[in-house]
């Protein structure tokens, strides 16, 4: 059981950098689409 947890641990830390790289790449690739509304998001007034 302990051995299996160690293997999961190693696989997790091999997979996580790939997930992070894909997430960063996706975010950067779609950044310009949302950049224009970003200012609106950040300073959005509360609805009454």
């Amino acid at each position: 059981m302990i051995l299996r947890q160690r293997q999961i641990h190693v696989v997790a830390w091999l997979v996580i950098p790939v997930v992070v790289a894909v997430a960063l790449w996706t975010a950067l690739a779609t950044r310009t689409e949302v950049a224009t509304e970003a200012a609106g998001w950040a300073t959005k007034e509360r609805a009454p």
Binding site: I2, Q5, R6, H9, I16, P17, T26, A38, A47
Partner: protein
């Protein structure tokens, strides 16, 4: 270690650590909000948005710290005091994530023109009134995982669940970390033009991954492999290879690892995995006459594998002898 179950007590060191931690987080939030208001002036976002970003970024930094402590301790024992206080860091990061989620809910969901539930569950991108895409849902899932980890970060739950089940639950921190990073990447990162967050997230993930893989590689290293000698005895190497008061790892043919240690009373061979959190007892040292786990300090007498009174834990001990200058052990533990 336990005699009967006793809740973990606060002690002056834990109180000092928590006070230092709380002061550090408050200072960070004050600098984040105050500094942003001062630097951006009229262009600064509202206080609520600065608070949710401050709490979120503090939780993200703490999550990296929490995940780095384990491998750092495996690589260098000087980091062990941080491991001792890691649970408090984890609970604090959950509360920061909760503050982030509550302020987000009020600011973006509670006052949005559209139904908050629709905004949360819809993966479609919308306008400033929502929906906001998939990233809030990822954040909510991560928050759920962190909540489970925080509520079970207590010796009571470890006692009830057992070390293996408890550890299995706490491995949820890996998917939680991945969810948090994707949440930040698809959320805050896309709404910013600067590259600091991209570099920070990439470097953080790269550093954590490197540390964990380096620690895993190191823990794969075995000091000695046990080889068949004569009768039921296994040869584990020359006696002079076992230093005083420091365990060496020995791998049995079955794959199990033992902690072989030379101490004042001679040589002993004990089960290599601590009964507390399955820590590497084979990397331990003899302190006060007991083999001590490097993770949380649980102790076992080298002679019989029993914890010193009043504690009742016991791990297996194995027959060991020195013959013609070589250490030999048996694979079947002592009764």
């Amino acid at each position: 270690m336990s005699h009967k179950y006793v809740a973990v007590a606060w002690n002056p060191r834990k109180k000092a650590f928590d006070a230092f931690l709380a002061a550090g987080v408050l200072l960070y939030l004050a600098v984040f909000v105050g500094g942003s208001l001062a630097a951006l002036g009229a262009d600064a976002p509202s206080e609520e948005i600065l608070l949710l970003r401050g709490a979120g970024s503090a939780a993200l930094v703490l999550l990296h710290v929490v995940l780095a402590i384990g491998p750092l301790t495996r690589l260098d024992a000087r980091f062990a005091p941080l491991l001792y206080n890691r649970r408090h860091l984890g609970v604090l990061l959950f509360f920061l994530a909760l503050v982030h989620a509550v302020v987000v809910s009020i600011t973006y969901f509670g006052f949005a023109a559209r139904d908050p539930l629709y905004n949360l569950l819809s993966v479609e991108g919308g306008d400033a009134d929502g929906p906001f895409g998939v990233f809030p849902l990822l954040g909510l899932m991560a928050l759920g995982a962190l909540a489970l980890l925080a509520t079970t970060s207590h010796d009571f739950w470890q006692k009830v669940l057992g070390p293996v089940a408890w550890k299995s639950i706490h491995m949820l921190v890996y998917p939680a970390y991945a969810l948090v990073v994707v949440h930040v990447a698809l959320g805050a990162l896309r709404s910013e033009h600067g590259s600091a967050l991209v570099v920070g997230l990439g470097a953080g993930a790269g550093l954590l991954s490197s540390l964990h893989l380096a620690a895993a590689l190191r823990s794969r290293r075995v000091d000695e492999d046990a080889r068949a000698s004569e009768d039921d005895w296994l040869d584990v190497g020359p006696a002079e290879r076992f230093p005083l008061d420091r365990a060496r790892s020995v791998r049995l043919p079955s794959g199990a690892r033992l902690a072989v240690v030379r101490h004042a009373g001679g040589l002993s061979a004990l089960h290599g995995v601590c009964a507390h959190q399955a820590g590497p007892l084979y990397e331990g040292r003899v302190i006060d006459g007991c083999l001590t786990c490097p993770w949380h300090g649980w102790q076992y007498r080298p002679e019989d594998g029993r914890s010193p009174p009043p504690f009742e834990e016991r791990i297996a001990s194995y027959p060991i002898r020195v013959r013609e200058g070589r250490v030999e052990i048996r694979e079947v533990p002592n009764g």
